[in-house]
Symmetry: D3
Subunit: 263 residues, 6 copies
């Protein structure tokens, strides 16, 4: 079976830099996957991407190095299993707020007896190899998103869920849920304390801690702190920023791109 | 009829900065068209984009400010007319090497008696307004690509073509056709002389000169020289560059992104 | 943030005429949205439309006047949030039969602390503007469908749900659920009494009452009664009727189109 | 082989009423093909439809009664043959202005020795039956569009082209080409004379004369005159008209729908 | 209303051979539906197929003989109803493990008062005819998948569910759930006993028993035993096997195709 | 640059077995490309495949071993160049009947000074590597289809075309053009003589001779004769044959599948 590059990286004690793909077409995904990201997550929650486009994207990046992950729209077994059958090597599940939700999620990622994933890895066989059934349970990564105050309240119970590989923090939702604004790259002491609590909980259990970041500098700081998966922005936003910089430079408006619009 | 922003800009003596859309989906086009480009060209030649995706892209950007243009795959009336019917406000046509080819191209953009465009502006009516038929001939822009030695040999005849609005230089093809490498942002004196000749030919006839650029600085230089339409890279390449910079920064590899791969 | 035309209309005490889009393509949606409807609802429940096509449709109509709404296939947070992130300015949710279902629905439409909508308005920023996060909770419309006897039994509890903007009546389902046939434009006294009860419940609480109609005359009657959102048929049915009339006229078969088939 | 309903109708001396499909999706095509049209033409020229969507549409209407035709974007053998292979039972080709163009067109519709159509009726076998190769040359209909003054000048030569089944008049283009406006339902004596000349030329040779109409009444008049194929508007326009009528009625604005917009 | 061929076959006491469509495009579905299968199931669970592609496939096969079924990704009313509205004449629902799940499933397939299916058979009217509403409840087939040990434990309760038409056995999941490997064409006595128990439970209640098979010989054996619906492999696997045989023969590697890869 | 497996095979004196992909979706292409074909040709001529689907297919098979080729719908530079930019490593061009047509074709596959291919290998860079521009002219394969009597008449002139890599014989068209039926696997002495003449012409010039076959046995015979590229049927037909065999076996109708229908 084709190895999971993220698991290899983590086994070597390293952290991974993750790209975030929201542009719903194989070509953009392939451009993303040709850059030196360690993994690439196709975002079916807030990205304008549904299953069929996610499939196209997974197919388009199968010759590229980054490990393919997917974020599902919601904690539903149907779409989780469809994306695994399509060859995703890991699932990020939003809004996991309770132990029960965590179990529902991770067991959807595992074949019996470790879970209730249904058998039929139609495309995964083509991507991963004929021995996929034998190794899938140990290869596929299951990351639960911690992004509400309720999830923080239930943190230990969630982290103790068998088969869970780690968590992925959604800072904007977490901040809002804790009474703040929809910020990312959180620096408020109150929020930093929560992030540290989550990170420590993961490290204690040898679980992966991941987090969504905006600036590369913040992402670097997270890696230095011990996060094992840091995402920088998303494809659309990186593109928007690059446009704004290029246009400003061509207009002679100084090195700093002016805000070009809503995005 | 909805005005053509490029024509207004040019009437005011200004040059335009043009975005280049090759990612074949409405969302990426909409991200591009939400940045402060003056126009956005959907590239059906070297972009992995066909008509149906170009239509989606044109629809997705119709609420945005940049003027929508399209580059066709080849000098064929069928696709030229289909893109105009879809609401493109200008066509860039590759490989116009002779006066005859220039006439075949520009007349496909004009209704009789000024050309042979067939009547049926199905979606253009929705985008532009009910009076589209009355104003289309004066609104739609026709730009012929000058990108071969043969075209340079025939430059005056091409530039004298009635109804032609201007030219668009493809530097990589032009350089290769003149015996060089597939370079852009040309600085070889031999090639600069050719570019200057084309620009002068346009300026003499009050035609638009446009050019494809790689760096914002080169694009700025072209605007300063008198080009009226400068393109900076393409969406996929801007995205790739932004990724490389972000990843390098997150890895602490210095401010300059290392080359991430082929793109 | 781009204003919600329906809310403006309602604030002025007026009722809205709503188009119903089931043809799954941007072009048909754009044709619909170029007609003088006040709003246009993309129907993902009984329309042969899924998310990706709904996105195309929302993009295609963003330059048009009608306010974009969407009816979701079922009361599921994943698809509700995806459509809001795609720029829908209101959600119509089928089969809301209990207070608990109503809360699950409306809270999916609101960011914390008013609900549990996850943050990530990827395309909504492009459609609505950079200040979308600040105003979304007050802009987005949440309409629960009342279409079962159970819902009528629970009417007061449903209507008292915080954050609910109003209801939308599905007459065919309601009629069937109450032991009748799958009729619309209901005139049976028994059913009229139920409709009046729902309308009165809304008016008492200053909520919007909406209803799906077949004939323009019935829709007019509903507006006169105080409904604030009336839908007339659906795009496919309007098209079918227009064909039948035109063909009958061309055949000289009298002014009244004969039934052309099943639709 | 599945019979060609149009040929059967014509053999019985009857004229056909043709629907015009421009909405690029199988569902709209299926709605159209479920109405009592005799044939349905998928318009790849001015309709926002490309090959892949035309294929979907042809597949979606294969269980319906109307005979499937296609109008190609231009007189190019590649797309003509692809549509025939996809199961179209007739091709309408725009802008046939000379005998040479007519030959190029009709021979693309016929297998050797009657033409140069390439063999590979991939989907046509599924639609028409295993004996398609034996009967295709006599089943498929080839109609050349007469829509320029040049075509009128060359009328006899065009009509004498072997294998041509008839012509289809594009009134808007013809009017413009003859120095008028882009009108349909032509009543100017000058234009009526030209139409009559074309019709007479067809009748003399036992060829089919077809024409694009706007109003059902005009279409009826054409049938009465001897045209054998009359089209009424197009799906998008029929839909727009139906919307305008319905909205006006629901607003109490009188029986006549006010103009709703550009379409 | 168009008859349901499977019900006719079963009424005649015969068993049906079912094709399994996982290739997400109308053309492949049409090729499949042109072969002498009695029914064709579009697999939205393990097939890389979502709703929009399933719709295309249903449209493409509507002129073909096999009865169209669909397997849904999960037991969710939204997608079940959408597929019925799209014209599927039967639903196979995975992972029905309890009586409550069985009721939730089958009632989604029936209009009130026999279930809670929402009314709006948009495309089903075009496929089945105008009287679809009157006959749908007796025409549509609801088959619950029995594929876990839990389902076997609850077998009688599930089989006694009103409105259930029968079951469909997923051998790979059933085997895994019972502690075995993901095998099909089960021959272990332990598993055969379970299969026989399920078959007997169906036969006692005059319910349909269906099963997924790999080899035609096993399928034949199941028919002989009394199964009324047997599936052989899936389109992609049949294609892969045909390729391997053809290549081996062209290489002169003997009549038996060597394993070509993972599929 | 990623090597061209076909050129390596040919350099080793071996012949290649080529798959033929007509099912327009990435999944079917990936199934095909996971079988032990040496190359896989995406057929845009008689396959129901257009550019956008061909792009998806090329992306989906980029992690697989077979060399990707494409057959274009017609000898048009626009589509030839688009497919090369999409990463096709070879083009098969139909209906090359004259030296002039051969030159037009092959030069569209070569950058200056060896041809007139336009520069912009957008996706080819991602598939092949950053040094694609330097090696493309020597890597890309150009095969002209010989499939008319006219082409046979002009055989030497065509074969002498500089930059041509070889020919691909379309037996059905060739047979029809020579006055026969649309047969493949030709055994008539008259046709065999023509085939031998083409093969000899290629061998004399060290050009590749390819041919489309139906049966594996005929393909093997061609390899033995010295053909270097033999195709067996097409994906749809292989699938149809496998279905017919499986169904017949399950019905107990003997080992030989009865003809299941038109395909």
């Amino acid at each position: 079976m084709r190895a999971n590059g993220l698991r290899e990286l983590w086994a070597a004690g390293k952290g991974a830099i993750n790209g975030w793909a929201q542009i719903p077409t194989g070509f953009a995904a392939e451009v993303m996957a040709s850059q030196p990201w360690d993994s690439l997550t196709i975002d079916l929650q807030h990205g304008p991407v549904d299953y069929q486009r996610a499939l196209e994207m997974l197919q388009a990046i199968s010759h590229c190095a980054p490990t393919p992950l997917a974020r599902v729209p919601w904690n539903e077994p149907g779409i989780i299993m469809k994306l695994l059958d399509a060859g995703a090597y890991g699932i990020i599940c939003p809004m996991v707020n309770t132990r029960e939700q965590a179990e529902r999620f991770v067991q959807a990622c595992r074949y019996p007896p470790r879970g209730y994933r249904s058998f039929g890895p139609t495309r995964a066989l083509l991507y991963a190899g004929a021995d996929y059934p034998a190794h899938a349970n140990d290869t596929v990564i299951a990351l639960a998103m911690i992004e509400t105050a309720e999830a923080v309240d239930n943190l230990d119970a969630i982290l103790d869920t068998p088969e869970l590989d780690g968590v992925y923090i959604g800072p904007a939702d977490l901040s809002q849920s804790c009474g703040g604004k929809e910020r990312v790259d959180l620096t408020e002491p109150r929020m930093v304390a929560i992030l540290d609590q989550i990170l420590a909980g993961c490290q204690k259990r040898n679980l992966i801690a991941g987090i969504h970041c905006m600036s590369p500098a913040y992402a670097k700081g997270c890696l230095d702190k011990g996060y094992k998966l840091v995402t920088i922005q998303a494809d659309g936003r990186l593109l928007a920023g690059a446009c704004q910089q290029a246009i400003a430079a061509a207009r002679g408006e100084g090195g700093q791109g002016k805000a070009g619009g809503p995005y």
